[in-house]
Symmetry: C2
Subunit: 189 residues, 2 copies
Amino acid sequence: MAVQNKAKTARGENSRQRILESTWQLIGKSDSREVTLDQIADVCGISKSSILWHFGSKEALLLEVADNIFRDLEKLFIEQCPPDSSIGERFAFFLNNYEDMLNATPEAPRIFFSFLFNNQFREKINNKIREIYEWNRETFCEQFNLTENQAVILLGMLNGIVIQANVHPERIKIKEVFDELKSLVKKIL
Amino acid sequence: MAVQNKAKTARGENSRQRILESTWQLIGKSDSREVTLDQIADVCGISKSSILWHFGSKEALLLEVADNIFRDLEKLFIEQCPPDSSIGERFAFFLNNYEDMLNATPEAPRIFFSFLFNNQFREKINNKIREIYEWNRETFCEQFNLTENQAVILLGMLNGIVIQANVHPERIKIKEVFDELKSLVKKIL
């Protein structure tokens, strides 16, 4: 029985990953709001009802994809940032990775922000958003040696810059703002 | 004819103001998403069709209310901030007013952010959001002697702090974060 259960769990985890990857591929190609569960089911070859069994709703699945992208960013940072670098250098390293992520998957922050202040979503989605914010702040506290309130400011700053660049892409260039930010942060950290 | 037109315009402006004030009163009492045009019409004694004639949609009206609150904040700052104060002092003065506004009308930023990343709204709403961001940045440039990219960072920071406090009010206290921010900004400005 135990062996069977393990096999079942492994199969379940494998399906989960395939669903996440297919969704990621699809939202890379078009607006996340236009991606349907039917399209996702088509790409990963897993039925719609199984997808819903794994994630509960399309919204929860999209948010999970965004969460994964943010976690990859954290993993990349922890694995690749030179351990003897100063906090200013670490922050610049992080900003470069963050910028690459925004260029590669501009939909990730858009998905995340579209769930904020949107009353139609259930408690589960709101809890997930809180959870993403919490581990983001924790990572900032650890990696840049910040207090929680300082992490709120730094994370807020990144959020607010990405939002403005999304609202007015012809006007606000993430790269330029991040360069300015690196030099400002050097004065603080 | 000219006199008649002027009277008409004055009456129109008067109605506009009454609609804005009634909406402001109603959203002070409940969630802005629950306020209906019928309720607004009831409170100001102006028909729903007239309200729509003035503002186009409930969403545009709500955004106009938020815009007015932000503009009052700017006016208050320009009128009351001591002219001989340093930029750090000016920023602290602004943050105090901003905090008072958030306490008095917590719905203002919520309205604003709920329109961001929400595809269901028309071009007109998106243009208004861009416009609000633009004059906010211009004010920051003028009042705190910043470049546009610095204004993006500062405005983004305030946005991101308010967002996190809304997502997790039990955890993030605006007052504490703003106190931290004042001491950080002193090091930069």
